[in-house]
């Protein structure tokens, strides 16, 4: 698993990359009440705003961590945004993307580096 400075996690699943936000991010955001996901099939460039999360306090954006195509979204979050607080690292993944170059993930932090980063 890899981590971005935007507090996203990236997990390789076959040829896809699954993206979500970290427990630390979910805790910082507070109670999440709304998640807006991109459409499946959307082509995205790294750092595009692809997901909007609204907590009781404020709205925040999730950026595409890599160039690629959104091939699957987690529709469960639309009806149950609170899942992001309950299981951010598991069931509350946001989307799966097909990326051209998996090696681009190497630029991101591993778990130990991310732990240092948030401390």
């Amino acid at each position: 698993m890899k981590f971005t400075e935007e507090h996203e996690w990236l997990r390789v699943e076959g040829e896809l990359v699954v993206v979500g936000i970290t427990e630390h991010a979910a805790e910082q955001l507070g109670d999440i009440v709304f998640v807006e996901l991109p459409e499946e099939g959307t082509e995205v460039a790294k750092d595009d705003e692809v997901v909007v999360i609204e907590s009781v306090k404020a709205a925040s954006d999730i950026l595409a961590p890599l160039d690629g195509e959104i091939v699957e979204i987690n529709g469960a979050l639309t009806g149950n945004p609170g899942l992001v607080n309950e299981d951010p690292m598991g069931d509350a993944w946001f989307f799966k993307m097909k990326v051209e170059d998996l090696s681009a993930m190497d630029d991101y932090m591993d778990e130990a580096e991310y732990k240092d980063f948030i401390e």
């Binding site: 507070g30 009440v33 909007v52």
Partner: protein, 366 residues
């Protein structure tokens, strides 16, 4: 920039695990580990303790009534001892400088004003009233919720006799508590002015009751919004008249046209003419149809495509008890009550229905 001021009970909040955020120059507990949603719901079901010591507390001597009426269009001369009223400081252009609570005690008037406006309010009062005493040695706690009455009665038994908007000075452990049965959540509850030296003991006495839990500024905002209570600086301002803000009720008959003490406050001509003939804009409640909150600043339109802008959201968010987003908006006065509205959120027009406020039924103890 000046350093943020700390509340007298800062260390207690830190020990309770509060996350702090800046508000009106103060470092305020925004939420505790339970989180905004849980704190909000706890307040609606039990009793939540808020620290609102950032708010300005001011004493005026007896005899200041008439002078205060020149600044605030309320019936202060008619305010009975032991009672409290809501009022507004207006300006010459008919806008609002701040809103405040005015309590009548045996020895004079006790005012509570907004933190962000306190300095300006005190200067404004001093320009018109000889003796203005800012109270700097007291904390202000708010205990709110359907169980607030029982929790406080266990500590201060005589508080039980008070009803909504009653005030009392009650001795407790060698200090005097200034109580008012009011608040800013839409629930029954009390605001308690307590000397700083006794504030922690009182907060701990309250929190030692299982029915009480701390709540932060985040829950305070979602609670007041569900209760349809306007926030100064967002829903009321120098650019929004009391009539536009839906606060006409705060200006009693005696200060209106034909009243015994008609006018005689800043902006009277404009405000009284708006009471009689209407204002250009009006405050409405909004229920967005989807789950996306429409927050302050969202522009409102009369059509999904094109059309014209009819107003703006002044406060908006998610209502934990409502289980849905909600907003207060300022719109053109001639907008029909049943007109559908679209709010532009991140470039997309999303539909919203007009709705009556409060969004939830208040629990005031009348």
């Amino acid at each position: 920039m000046d350093a943020l001021r700390r509340l007298p009970l800062h260390d207690l909040h830190a020990a309770l695990g509060a996350k702090f955020g800046p508000f009106a120059g103060w470092s305020m507990p925004v939420q505790y580990p339970a989180g905004v949603m849980a704190e909000h719901l706890w307040c609606r079901e039990k009793a939540a303790l808020f620290d609102v010591s950032h708010m300005g507390q001011v004493l005026l001597p007896s005899g200041a009534d008439a002078a205060l009426e020149t600044l605030v269009p309320a019936d202060i001369l008619g305010l009975a001892e032991g009672r409290q009223r809501y009022g507004l400081f207006t300006d010459d252009a008919g806008g609002v400088l701040d809103d405040l609570m005015i309590a009548r005690r045996k020895d004079g008037l006790f005012l509570v004003v907004n933190a962000a406006c306190a300095g300006q309010d005190i200067a404004h009062l001093k320009a018109h009233i000889e003796t203005v005493v800012p109270v700097d040695d007291r904390a202000l706690l708010a205990l709110q919720g359907p169980m607030a009455g029982d929790v406080l009665a266990a500590i201060v038994p005589s508080s039980r006799a008070m009803t909504f908007m009653d005030v009392a000075v009650i001795p407790w452990k060698g200090v005097s508590l200034w109580l008012s049965r009011s608040g800013y959540t839409g629930e029954d509850g009390f605001e308690i002015s307590v000397p700083v030296m006794a504030a922690e003991a009182l907060a701990n006495a309250i929190l030692s009751d299982d029915r009480a839990a701390p709540a932060g500024l985040g829950a305070r905002d979602s609670l007041r919004l569900e209760a349809g209570l306007p926030l100064y600086g967002q829903d009321m301002s120098p650019d929004i008249s009391p009539v536009e803000a839906g606060q006409k009720w705060a200006i009693p008959k005696v200060r209106r046209r034909g009243g015994e003490r008609e006018g005689g406050f800043p902006g009277a001509e404009m405000i009284l003419s708006q009471i009689d003939s209407g204002a250009p804009r009006k405050r409405i409640g909004l229920l967005p149809e989807g789950r996306a909150p429409m927050r302050a600043g969202v522009e409102l339109f009369d059509a999904e495509d094109g059309g014209t802008q009819v107003g703006i959201v002044t406060s908006g968010g998610f209502g934990p008890s409502l289980g849905a987003p909600m907003a207060i908006a300022l719109v053109d006065a001639d907008l029909p009550d049943d007109a559908m509205i679209w709010g532009e959120v991140r470039g997309r027009r999303l539909p919203a229905r007009q709705a009556k406020t409060p969004f939830v039924t208040p629990g005031y103890k009348r």
